[in-house]
């Protein structure tokens, strides 16, 4: 009977240097490539913010300049558009976060009639094509004789933001240990006190992320705003208007600033929500006498 030795054909295969390298690093390369793909528009945006523009056509690189960074608001109408979009996004994010968080909490904690229906409506809000949502909102506002402008935009933005916030906060609440709420109740706290002192502080990082998301969605919204903005020009509508003629590099500057601020927020939120340090369970009760 034959003695069984290692049956793996080790090092038998003729080595092709390039192929070996590829097979070993294919995952790394794929990850690198995907990251590059995702970042390409952002990189282009940042690069173009340093473009030296000539005349009106400046979709091409003409040379390095700090001109746009030195005078980031030197485009007529830009400041007005930002003065509308930024406060609008803040207010919308605030309202949507409050309503969305309450919706999420209700959906996770309570049983009520129409719970499934609510879930469906939230999903529909997200999955309905924006063009359709925008045109039907336009119809609604016209039918009800609601004057178009900031008010209608706020209503519309809050509406689609609620669904996003609710879904994000809900996923956090699902993993929330209900025993913590029970403990607070056990110690004499009622519903609101439990929520304010225990639940909300613990899920806060997710709520903040949801709020940032809601802020960005509102700031960025183009399609629905197009239908319901009336005479009001938000930042995306302004960019659209400009882009049809020429793109001043200042818009890339604003875009870059927004990107940086948001990134900082996300990093800060991530750092704050990280657990203090891994605890060591061995050795335990010790040293307390």
């Amino acid at each position: 009977m034959a003695v069984i030795t290692s049956s793996f054909p080790t090092a038998q295969r003729p080595a092709i240097p390039g192929l070996a390298f590829l097979s070993r690093h294919i995952l790394t390369l794929a990850a690198f490539g995907t990251t590059l793909y995702l970042f390409a528009p952002i990189i282009i945006m940042i690069v173009l913010s340093f473009n030296e523009t000539q005349g009106r056509f400046d979709f091409v690189w003409r040379g390095f300049s700090l001109e746009a960074w030195e005078h980031p608001l030197a485009v007529p109408g830009l400041v007005d558009a930002l003065a509308i979009s930024l406060p609008l996004a803040v207010v919308v994010a605030l309202i949507a976060t409050i309503i969305g968080t309450m919706t999420a909490y209700a959906q996770i904690r309570y049983h009520f009639i129409g719970k499934q229906l609510l879930e469906l409506i939230l999903l529909l809000t997200i999955s309905t094509p924006e063009v359709i949502m925008g045109s039907s909102l336009l119809n609604l506002f016209i039918d009800w004789h609601v004057p178009m402008g900031l008010g209608t935009m706020m209503l519309s933005h809050v509406m689609f933001d609620i669904a996003f916030v609710a879904i994000m906060v809900k996923s956090r609440l699902r993993s929330f240990d209900i025993a913590l709420e029970h403990a607070a109740m056990d110690l004499g706290a009622r519903g609101w006190r439990v929520f304010r002192l225990i639940t909300l502080p613990i899920i806060m990082p997710s709520v903040v992320t949801a709020a940032l998301f809601a802020f960005m969605l509102s700031l960025d919204d183009f399609i629905i705003s197009m239908f319901v903005s009336g005479e009001t020009v938000t930042f995306p509508l302004f960019v659209w208007g400009e882009a049809r003629v020429a793109m001043p590099p200042q818009i890339y500057v604003i875009g870059t600033i927004m990107f940086l601020v948001l990134t900082l927020f996300l990093i800060a939120n991530l750092l704050m929500s990280r657990p203090a340090k891994p605890r060591q369970d061995a050795g335990a009760a010790t040293g307390t006498h």
């Binding site: 025993a179 913590l180 403990a183 056990d186 110690l187 002192l197 605890r279 009760a285 010790t286 307390t288």
Partner: protein, 384 residues
């Protein structure tokens, strides 16, 4: 078929005997979740200051019972009296009771001090008084040095202590503990058992403890309620449960036991004469309720029998053959079998080891009749 008294009047108390002026009275409490009954009708009186353990396998209703006392679950029927007041419908925050949760449930975003202060602050206790009582509670559990730490900086045992302090600081009428030691490793659990006992003696509050660990229950409790299938099988002091189990379940659940089927021949003066199923007449202590002809189980604890080599040697016992032998340090464990195949485990101290015993050898198993016990065998009908 005639209805028994129980089905005609389910309102009759069925459980353990009531005590005078209990701190908590569970009265004919039932609980079912959508058609599925967990507890049919439970009666339980908890004495002031005692350390009562609800012991049973998972799904026996012990945790549900505790949750109903705490107010996290509402009974489907019956009522719960706390210090004479019906609290059945009250939410947890209206009950002067506190719970130590299985995974401690410390608030992760608060320091140890703030965790413990949560109860007093919620009760709007004055600020200086809060600090004082929190410090006292932390001192009781030897955690004063950790007041400024966050829960995730503490070990499991330390978190356990904080959870205890957080509950005790409110001076509850009873402290409810839901398997609080199950997350700790064996060594630490042992230490915390003694610590809990010390704290119980110190604070003199009623402790209601839930566990599935019979060793833990025996170590700590003043009384144990053994639960099975939503019922209390027996409520007694640990020693009584061990020496005089009321049912087959209790005999098997508390400690090790050899259970040998037999029929009662006589029962006089607390000692019953039994005819073992595989043959052989033996004696064992028995409750007076058993009469001749009753099918029973002889409860023979492994450490209560003595072994000697050879066949029948007189005295109270039977003959068996040696199957195997394990030396276990502090004890020696013998596996034996009777001629009808019935297996018996006997443990003896090393100094009483059987010298030169080989598997297959005839062994005489003997015991003092007062140390063995008899329980009814629910699986067999009375044959007379």
């Amino acid at each position: 078929m005639a209805l028994t008294a129980d089905t005609v009047t389910p309102a009759v108390r069925t459980g353990p005997a009531p005590v005078a002026d209990p701190i908590i009275r569970v009265e004919r409490v039932g609980k079912s979740y959508g058609g599925h009954t967990i507890i049919e009708s439970l009666d339980l009186d908890i004495e002031r200051g005692e350390f009562l353990t609800l012991l049973g396998p998972s799904g026996c209703g012990k945790t549900t019972t505790l949750k109903m006392i705490a107010g996290f679950e509402m009974p489907t029927s019956g009522r719960i009296l706390l210090d004479g007041v019906d609290v059945s419908g009250l939410p947890p925050y209206r009950r002067p009771l506190n719970t130590v949760f299985q995974q401690y449930a410390l608030f992760p975003h608060m320091t140890v001090f703030d965790n413990v202060a949560f109860g007093p602050r919620t009760a709007k206790v004055e600020k200086s008084a809060v600090a004082k009582s929190v410090e006292a509670a932390l001192a009781t559990v030897s955690m004063s040095k950790f007041a400024g730490k966050k829960p995730d900086q503490l070990s499991g045992g330390q978190q356990q202590r904080v959870a205890l302090a957080r509950a005790l600081v409110n001076a509850p009428k009873a402290l409810l503990l839901d398997e609080p030691l199950s997350a700790l490793d064996v060594k630490l659990r042992r230490a915390m058992q003694l610590e809990l006992k010390r704290i119980h003696t110190e604070v003199k509050t009623t402790f209601i403890f839930v566990t599935h660990d019979q060793d833990e229950a025996l170590t700590m409790s003043s009384r144990i309620a053994v639960m099975n299938g939503g019922k209390i099988e027996q409520l007694d002091q640990p020693e009584t449960l061990y020496r005089r189990p009321a049912t087959r379940f209790v005999a098997g659940f508390i400690g090790q036991a050899n259970l040998l089927p037999a029929i009662v021949q006589t029962n006089v003066g607390g000692i019953a004469g039994l005819l073992l199923d595989g043959g052989g007449s033996v004696l064992a202590a028995a409750p007076a309720s058993l009469v001749a002809g009753d099918p029973v189980l002889l409860v023979l604890r492994p450490e209560q029998a003595a072994l000697s080599l050879g066949s029948a040697q007189g005295g109270n016992g039977f003959q068996a053959r040696l199957r195997s032998f394990d030396f276990q340090g502090s004890t020696c464990r013998y596996a034996l079998a009777r001629d009808d195949g019935q297996e018996i485990i006997v443990t003896v101290l090393p100094q009483h080891q059987l010298a030169g015993a080989e598997p297959g050898a005839l062994v005489w198993v003997q015991w003092d009749e007062a140390h063995a016990w008899v329980v009814p065998d629910p699986t067999r009908q009375r044959g007379s």
